[in-house]
């Protein structure tokens, strides 16, 4: 590691930093204990349709399958059958998305990118960091259902959806009339 990169750890937010090295244990020393590990796990909705006994997490990049299993079993007391992990490529984002993200950091970049634009890679500035995904299989006794957090705000969401539908209709109409701009609007 270069000397200037050692400083970089302190600039990064705490949850993105690498794990500090575990102190070496010598015989006769008191037992090493970790009270606040830098590990974290984020439960997300699965991106593909999955069987009901599977859960999907985004986890700290340095966590192994054993770490995930112990984290769930020891801290949350959730029995775990199997864990599978994989590292996903970073997500491309445009300038508009970046600006939105800067103004409102809660804005999820990776959920909003339209798929057709992704293939063309038009207007992509950069990619986000890579991230690790963990698939956890739990026994059938454990049942998890996603809570309805936005129960009260539902009508608002519906309104937004309607607006979006309208917008998409107009967009389609405009796309159709791209080639015939010479004609007056009635003939388009």
């Amino acid at each position: 590691m270069a000397h200037w990169m050692k400083r970089a750890g302190s600039i990064l937010p705490f949850w993105k930093r690498t794990i500090p090295p575990f102190p070496v244990y010598w015989k006769g020393d008191p037992k090493n204990r970790v009270f606040l590990p830098t590990f974290w796990m984020k439960l997300v909705k699965p991106d593909r349709e999955m069987p009901p006994d599977y859960l999907q997490f985004i986890v700290h990049k340095q966590m192994s399958t054993h770490d995930v299993k112990n984290y769930l079993e020891k801290i949350y007391e959730v029995p775990v059958l199997r864990v599978r992990t994989e590292i996903r490529r970073g997500i491309p984002f445009t300038k508009e998305m970046w600006l939105k993200y800067v103004r409102n950091p809660g804005y999820p970049i990776h959920q909003r990118f339209p798929r057709d634009a992704e293939r063309e890679m038009s207007g992509v500035i950069n990619f986000t960091d890579e991230f690790k995904v963990a698939y956890v299989q739990v026994p059938e006794e454990v049942k998890f259902t996603w809570p309805d957090i936005f129960k009260e705000n539902k009508p608002l969401m519906e309104k937004a959806l309607e607006e979006r539908k309208k917008f998409s209709k107009e967009q389609k109409r405009l796309e159709k009339s791209k080639g015939s701009k010479d004609l007056p609007a009635w003939f388009r």
Binding site: R48, E49, P51, L81, R82, R88, E118
Partner: protein
């Protein structure tokens, strides 16, 4: 330079410009020719033909018809057969592929045609899998209906005599004691035993004890049942098969993680199905010259029973894709006399250490899914060697028996393959394959002080019953899609010479 001077004298200013480039007279002429190429007219050709395209092509005008109008036959929208959700144009493509396949006389050439020379991305299915709860997944991709805790009625009709049972039982007990007491030293005598881990040693014992039990039963029954003499026995047999499975149209990788694939990997665009390639090595395989009797008729209501609809992307259950050539390996080479399945015996120890499994019921589910997968892929490969394929469905059901065991515990399976059309939708083709499975049973509990304790007679009886079923000779043609000249390898006497002639095997 001399040429330049001469040009300068005769041609004035224009020549001077060329001379500055230090070009000889021949080169100047060449350049001029390149700019204005002369029109070359060969003797045979005329200006009409080239470069102009002639407007009058050779075309026979239709002759004037009589009173009755004659039209060519109208092509139907779909080819014969049931096609389901497959669009008409693609159905015709598949139909013609199957037609072309029939023109190839030799089985080996057909298989070459079927298994494309290029590699394709497929889901690779090792049939021993450590994943938990894949029984429904295996049931769906192989299109099997599972009947638990039963074996077909044929096993009920067979009875084991007390004479034979009392003859075999002490022999089997002897084998068990022998295997336990034996100091195993594998490989060459000078090789120390330390090279093997205790797990490897245990696996070796299991595999060999099963082989010995099979040998004992087979040899002792041979005098009464002559069909056991004709069986072909092999050990460490490779079994591989390739197939397509429909029902994955709805899946799209449109998650918020950009996988970049609209369709899942291993997706066939024509049939809208996923590709699977299974691979397995069986411990002992017995094959027969004639097929086993069918367990139930095709018109039985059990053949159209419902199966679990496990339509999730296989990636979510821990399956992975890899590029590979499709292969069909039934466990024997082409031209072998014994072409039909009789019995396969598999030991799970090599791939799976039971102590490391997290769930107590894992071993049961693993044996179930392995039993389904092994018997299906084995029959599928054998059907392809008999001339059937995904284009040409089975005309009669194929059956087999499989045993999964480690020398102490045994689980029995009986399988009937009814269709090869897994790539069409289930609504159109209601026929399902059927698997009967008995729960895991222990042959004995322990061995203490040179005695076998807790010996279970019923397990041994069901083991013997598997050998008592006789293969049947059929009246109809067993290989309907092969040419009429084709001689079955059972009837052949000089097949080796012919094979050598073609340079195969």
């Amino acid at each position: 330079m001399a040429a330049c001077m001469r040009l300068q004298q005769f041609a004035g200013k224009n020549a001077v410009q060329i001379c500055r480039r230090h070009l000889s007279g021949a080169k100047i002429r060449k350049k001029v020719r390149e700019r204005n190429p002369p029109t070359i007219i060969h003797k045979n050709t005329t200006m009409k033909e080239w470069p102009f395209y002639s407007a009058t092509a050779s075309f026979d005008y239709p002759k004037p018809q009589g009173d009755v109008a004659e039209y060519p036959p109208i092509k139907e929208r779909f080819p014969p057969g049931k096609w389901g959700c497959i669009p008409d144009r693609k159905a015709w493509v598949m139909y013609e592929k199957g037609k072309d396949l029939l023109d190839i006389p030799h089985v080996a050439e057909r298989l070459e045609e079927l298994c494309s020379k290029e590699q394709v991305i497929v889901y690779q299915l090792p049939l021993w899998q450590r994943e938990h709860g894949l029984v429904e997944f295996f049931q769906y991709i192989t299109k099997t209906h599972l009947v638990k805790g039963e074996l077909p009625d044929i096993y009920g009709s067979i009875e084991v005599d007390d004479e034979t049972f009392n003859f075999i039982k002490p022999l089997v007990l002897e084998v068990i004691l022998q295997e336990k007491a034996q100091v195993v030293q594998y490989g060459r005598p000078h090789q120390p035993i330390k090279h093997r881990t205790p797990l490897q040693e245990r696996i070796k014992r299991e595999e060999e004890s099963i082989r010995q039990i099979v040998n004992v039963i087979r040899t002792s029954l041979c005098r009464k049942k002559p069909h056991l003499m004709k069986l072909l026995q092999d050990k460490k047999v490779r079994i591989e098969a390739y197939w397509l499975r429909s029902g994955y149209e709805a899946i799209e990788d449109n998650g918020y993680f950009n996988t970049g694939f609209k369709h899942p990997k291993g997706f066939d665009q024509v049939t809208k199905a996923l590709k699977f390639q299974s691979s397995h090595t069986a411990n002992v395989v017995l094959t027969a010259e004639q097929p086993l009797p069918e367990f139930i008729s095709k018109e039985d209501p059990l053949c159209t029973e419902e199966i679990p609809q496990f339509r999730y992307n296989p990636m979510t259950v821990g399956q992975h894709t890899a590029p590979s050539k499709p292969r069909f390996v039934p466990g024997y080479h082409l031209g072998q006399a014994c072409e039909f399945a009789y019995l396969t015996i598999n030991t799970p120890g090599r791939e799976i250490d039971e102590a490391s499994l997290p769930h107590p019921d894992d071993m049961k589910t693993i044996t179930l899914q392995a039993g389904i997968g092994i018997s299906f892929s084995q029959l599928l490969a054998k059907a392809h060697y008999l001339g059937f394929s995904m284009y040409h469905n089975l005309t009669y059901p194929l059956t087999c028996q499989t045993i999964v065991g480690d020398g102490r515990r045994f689980s029995f399976f009986a399988y009937q393959l009814n269709t090869l059309e897994q790539w069409k939708s289930d609504e159109v083709i209601p026929q399902r394959n059927i698997c009967w499975a008995l729960d895991e049973l222990a042959l004995y509990d322990t061995v203490e002080d040179g005695e076998v304790k807790g010996f279970n007679d019923e397990v041994l009886k069901t083991l013997i019953k598997c050998f008592l079923i006789e293969p049947e000779e059929r009246e109809f043609n067993l290989r309907p899609y092969l040419p009429e000249d084709y001689e079955a390898p059972v009837n052949k006497k000089e097949y080796i010479a012919e094979e050598v002639k073609h340079g195969r095997n």
